[in-house]
């Protein structure tokens, strides 16, 4: 997997700008630049690590640009390899010409994420940290950013490593017993092993639980808008998004597809899902829409259930009961919409008997939306408590933790039933492998290729 050739890539976004940065990394990479770069200072003193040299970049008679090149020695760079960064004018033509020169001089275009992969391969970071680099770049809000940075700084890795260390100790004792199986000795106290496994189980489960939050942080909190036709669901969606995303009309049944978009509030991202209105209908397409609406409800973290104040459903109590039964995981907000079109006090009195909290709003005039959003923020506050706790945001990590958890359960079972050491050893090894996959102690070429292919080029 690790190749010792020289790679190069544009590391800043494509397009016209004041500056562009081209990164080059690999053993003896500074030789690549020598034929093109003419810097008075570099000629006088040679290249020093972490120093920026100003000079001309040219090929024979063709002068390409005035550039600033910063060199990094092996062991002191991001990749861990000898590398340098060319800062040139942000002209696509110049970037192209410089890249052509560097490529012709014997380097090749970096694959997506190859800089970070080399950093991993050279032991500059473990796999969980490397994955955090891509998360950090794509983080859209404070919470996503904080979790990614914590992971990059080794938060998750150190937790996983401490689990592994404990496990390694017992696993090696058990393996040792196997070598001396004829002596019938017990190097590892079964009682201590059981205690350790049970405490490990708790810890792994707590990390696994955090994935629910982590996923909400990374992909947004799934927020479905449900209600009868024409209750104003699309209007609410547009009001929250601040743009005309959904087609709004006064004809009941306008929205048939589910529409998804995200909005940010108080540092959190909400994935807003508009759904078809729920009613008895014979329209085939509309029926599909309603079925989809309930499917969305079943997957939602939050449900806004809208009731039209000017035309409230009669069996609203039953509908809410049904909804809560089909989507027990979701937090349901009952919103009485169009309160600007009715005598508020009288209408709200109608709902005083329900056992649910409700929010009088007007999606059209945006009245009451702030209170609703504040309540939403409170209700989803669990996602914001990330800074003090390690959060798993990566499905690959969650998957490895699930396999670890299964292996721990089997190990506990093995100890309790006093099952032979070789079978126990196998379960312990499976648990170790699960943890090792997260930090990359255990890795395969396929796994690595899959992880880094999701990066942008130049990182």
């Amino acid at each position: 997997m690790l190749r010792d050739d020289i790679i190069c890539a544009l590391s800043t976004p494509q397009g016209i700008g004041a500056l562009a940065i081209i990164r080059v990394s690999g053993e003896n990479s500074h030789a690549t630049i020598a034929p093109f770069f003419n810097s008075k200072r570099a000629t006088k003193t040679g290249y020093e690590s972490h120093r920026a040299y100003f000079g001309d970049f040219s090929v024979k008679e063709e002068h390409i640009d005035e550039v600033l090149i910063t060199f990094f020695d092996e062991g002191k760079s991001f990749t861990g390899e000898e590398s340098f960064e060319i800062s040139c004018h942000g002209s696509p033509y110049i970037v192209q010409r410089i890249m052509e020169c560097i490529l012709e001089a014997g380097s090749r275009l970096a694959d997506p994420g190859e800089y970070t992969m080399r950093a991993f391969m050279n032991g500059r970071m473990d796999l969980a940290q490397a994955e955090a680099v891509a998360d950090l770049i794509h983080a859209e809000n404070k919470t996503m950013h904080d979790v990614a940075l914590r992971q990059l700084k080794g938060g998750l890795s150190s937790e996983i490593s401490s689990f592994r260390d404990e496990l390694v100790h017992f696993a090696s004792m058990i393996e040792l017993e196997l070598d001396f199986s004829e002596e019938d000795v017990e190097f590892a106290s079964r009682k201590q092993l059981l205690n350790m496994l049970q405490s490990l189980k708790t810890n792994v489960h707590s990390l696994l639980d955090s994935f629910k939050y982590g996923n909400a942080i990374k992909n947004g909190i799934a927020t479905a808008i449900l209600g009868a036709p024409n209750a104003g669901k699309s209007t609410l969606l547009n009001a929250l998004l601040g743009e005309d995303r959904a087609i709004v009309s006064a004809i009941a049944g306008t929205t048939r597809d589910t529409i998804e978009d995200t909005f940010h509030y108080a540092g959190l991202t909400y994935r807003l899902i508009d759904t078809a209105g729920i009613r008895d209908t014979e329209d085939y397409v509309e029926k599909i829409g309603i079925k989809k609406a309930f499917e969305q409800a079943e997957k939602a973290d939050v449900i806004f259930y809208l009731i039209d104040a000017t035309d409230p459903e009669k069996d609203v109590e039953n509908r809410i009961k049904y909804l809560k039964a089909s989507a027990p995981q979701a937090i349901v907000f009952l919103c009485i919409n169009k309160t600007d079109q009715v005598d508020t006090d009288v209408t709200l009195d109608l709902f005083q008997d329900t056992k649910h909290d409700f929010f009088p709003i007007s999606a059209k005039s945006k009245k009451g939306l702030n209170s609703l959003l504040e309540a939403l923020k409170e209700a989803t506050a669990w996602t914001a408590h990330s800074s003090s706790q390690t959060i798993v945001t990566n499905a690959r990590h969650a998957d490895a933790l699930r396999r670890t958890s299964l292996a721990i359960d089997k190990s506990i079972n093995a100890v309790e039933l006093n099952i032979p050491g070789d079978l126990l050893a196998q379960d312990l090894r499976a648990a170790l492998d699960g943890l090792g996959e997260i930090t990359g102690t255990i890795s395969t070429d396929d796994l690595l290729a899959n992880i880094f292919s999701k990066f942008c080029i130049g990182k």
Copy 2:
């Protein structure tokens, strides 16, 4: 105009990428970063010019990113001021947070081109060089790039300066004569002055002439496609652009507007103009199109005149004569189109009698296009000879040169007619001012604001 506050801006293109660079410049600017940047090395050694320091960027408890900051001492930076560049992860969220911190610490967002303006104000480059920075960034092909880089390197400036030096010498002598006007002395030999003015006139005219090329280089060589309706003009346009830009149909008279787009060939940019077919018509809208076609022809550097081989115009000889008379400046290429649909030899024989070179092509099958493009390259080779000669590409410079040229003519006239010294001195000063405006020796706030507002922010 020159402000001594601290400015900051994102200098790389907007968007997600591996890296982003934020530039900060101004007196004592390193103090701006101090509260946020924690670098082991910087703490140990202090900041050194041209050195990149790795460390954490954070505000109080909020950790924002791991960054690399390169510092530049006053007098050694692009702007000439103390400055630094923050290289952070290319995440819009991180860029925004870092900018917010730097702004709150007492800097302000840079205006477009303000870094380059400061470089000019601090004497790091003259005005013509500063303008070349923007041209360099926007250069789309080799020729545009080479001319801009030559100007940035001071090519135009040194030529203008040498003109000015000669002129300054004589102008000061004439002014001196005025001080001693009662003595009736002649410090400046009128014969030498006349020689100098005449040689200067030649040089200024030669620069002015280069503006035709310069303009073609910067804005593309205007290339109009003319011909009878349905001769295949839009098909040729699409073939050259490599995309379906113009609506092509077999109904004569499809193209009514003139369509403009650019294509690059052999390092040159051609601005391709499709026009309405030329024929006698009663259609009002089509008449306007034909009028426009001739207007385009009058402004074109190159004309492709298309003849339909399957239905050649009978009075083609007269049409070409008329065209050459109305557009004497243009190079006309006679293209016999649709040669794939006729017996080529027979058809071409029909044209052997014309006194013009012609190109048998098929715009549809792209046959013969390579020969046409090679001929086009040869015919517009004047634009490619730029590397050995100074080329004026900037309309502002051309305008200043025109005024200089007028003032020189008046000066020559004054010397020849032996007009009193004070009037001659005034004309010489006008010539000096014209030249001085190009390099910025003479400048006004309005002029500068106008020039730099066309830059991108961060440069």
